[in-house]
């Protein structure tokens, strides 16, 4: 009788932690609610997209906030694991802003007749998407982990400084034009069972976001360790790759 696959020999990457399981369970519940609740009064079934759209915005902004926390923590402690968290969270943040934009456009087409309404929320999400895509591009362009940590945390400072101003300016700009219906979901009465569906969405996607950030962070830490081992053992490991030239073995024995 072969021993059951004990806990430790299932590789970490494939093992479902409690966070993963909670995320899956809550997602199923949220999905059920999102599809079973009655259609919303003014917008009908299309409003169900909101149970997806708003939570993904929340996760995206939470991820970016995590990045900034990681940046500050790295600057304070110079411990690479915080920089790795910053990078991991930024990746999840960009993915979720992508979701927000896509769902926002899919919702806008039937509702407004156009994919892009330049609403302050959607426009800001797109700006954040590119700002943090730039952050990821910078991280990708630097090989050395310490230099990457330094450069990306300085960019983090730039983002911390400027993004609130970007937010304010866009809202002010749209406020002048659109007049006030900015952050409230556009003229929808969300109450009763619909509100629970939205709440379930928030809960489910928060767990999903957290689970993805944990995994992305774990990956970043492993990559850091691998890189550190390769660099530290450069002599040895490179040595392995380099051995004495097999001159006699080559085809034309040197005369």
């Amino acid at each position: 009788m072969t021993a059951p696959a004990t806990h430790h020999d299932v590789p970490a990457s494939l093992r479902l932690t409690w966070l993963d399981k909670t995320a899956i369970v809550t997602l199923v519940v949220a999905l059920g609610l999102a599809f079973l609740t009655p259609p919303e009064a003014t917008q009908g079934n299309v409003a169900r997209l909101f149970y997806l759209h708003l939570p993904t915005i929340l996760v995206a902004y939470a991820a970016f906030a995590t990045t900034l926390i990681g940046v500050v923590a790295y600057l304070a402690t110079k411990d690479l694991k915080w920089d790795q968290l910053a990078g991991a969270a930024a990746e999840v943040g960009v993915v979720f802003t992508g979701f927000t934009i896509i769902v926002g456009m899919i919702w806008a087409k039937p509702t407004w007749g156009v994919y892009w309404t330049w609403s302050a929320r959607l426009t800001l999400t797109a700006v954040m998407f590119f700002a943090y895509l730039g952050y990821l591009a910078l991280r990708r362009a630097v090989d050395d982990p310490v230099v990457r940590a330094k450069r990306s945390s300085l960019l983090g400072i730039l983002l911390i400084g400027l993004i609130p101003i970007v937010h304010f300016s866009v809202i002010w700009w749209r406020d002048i034009h659109q007049g006030g219906t900015i952050l409230r979901p556009d003229e929808m009465q969300i109450d009763g069972i619909l509100a629970t569906a939205l709440l379930a969405g928030f809960v489910a996607w928060s767990f999903t976001g957290a689970a993805l950030i944990r995994r992305s962070w774990k990956l970043a830490r492993l990559e850091g360790e691998l890189d550190q081992r390769l660099r530290a053992g450069d002599g040895r490991v490179a040595g392995d790759a380099v051995d004495t030239p097999a001159l006699d073995g080559s085809k034309d024995a040197s005369s």
Partner: protein, 227 residues
């Protein structure tokens, strides 16, 4: 090790050079991660400047797109992996690479990336500006033809300006010379241009591409002499 040497043909060298450039870009990701998003955010930024009146955006969207393709697309041809260091240039000579093959190979790689650039930034434009592309069949010819024109023009300008010019000289050199490409692209996509007109504009780009190819071939060897 007496290898049998088959004299490499122009096309085989060009293909190898193109493959090299694409592989180098796949490893560096400079076009995918920097130049392409840069083009996309350009399209996002413009309405911040000129207002968000959708009918207006729908009308001027295509024109803005082609300007962005020109001004930002050309950066593809001056990406870091396309600007050879002196040692890399010496290696090309050492390997006896025909300068014409090198020009065609480099341009081909840039053309492939420029097609990708147009497709992605084009999709962003269609979404943000609610552009109706009733004439999308024209794009099937237009996108590659513009890519060829810009790819050749940027590569030739890069060769001519050498490393002395830096990244900004090439876009500056290319901009005025790319006007025919810009006009042909915007006019052939413009709703009011009759079909005969479209063919005329497309033919113009074909002529531009051919002229650029000929100039590229003629200047390749002299440029190598200067090196």
């Amino acid at each position: 090790m007496g290898w049998i040497v088959t004299e490499p043909t122009l096309s085989s060298q060009a293909l190898t050079i193109a493959g090299r450039d694409i592989q180098r870009e796949r490893r560096r990701g400079e076009v995918l991660w920097v130049i392409l998003p840069f083009g996309a955010i350009a399209m996002l930024l413009i309405p911040f400047g000129i207002g968000i009146d959708t009918p207006m955006l729908r009308r001027i969207g295509p024109g803005l797109f082609w300007v962005v393709v020109l001004l930002f697309g050309v950066l593809v041809t001056v990406r870091r992996t396309a600007a050879d260091t002196d040692t890399e240039q010496a290696l090309m000579l050492r390997l006896g690479v025909d300068p014409v093959a090198e020009l065609l190979g480099r341009s081909a790689a840039s053309v492939a990336m420029l097609i990708g650039f147009q497709l992605v930034v084009g999709a962003v434009t269609i979404a943000l500006y609610d552009v109706d592309i009733a004439r999308w069949p024209v794009l099937i010819a237009l996108v590659p033809l513009v890519a060829i024109g810009l790819g050749l023009l940027g590569t030739i300008a890069g060769g001519i300006s050498g490393s002395s010019g830096g990244a900004n000289l090439v876009p500056f050199l290319v901009a005025p010379l790319a006007i025919p490409l810009l006009l042909a692209a915007t006019q052939s996509m413009d709703g009011s241009t009759p079909t005969g007109g479209i063919l005329g504009w497309l033919l113009l780009i074909v002529v531009v591409d051919i002229v650029l190819a000929v100039i590229g071939v003629l200047t390749a060897r002299p440029l190598q002499e200067i090196r």
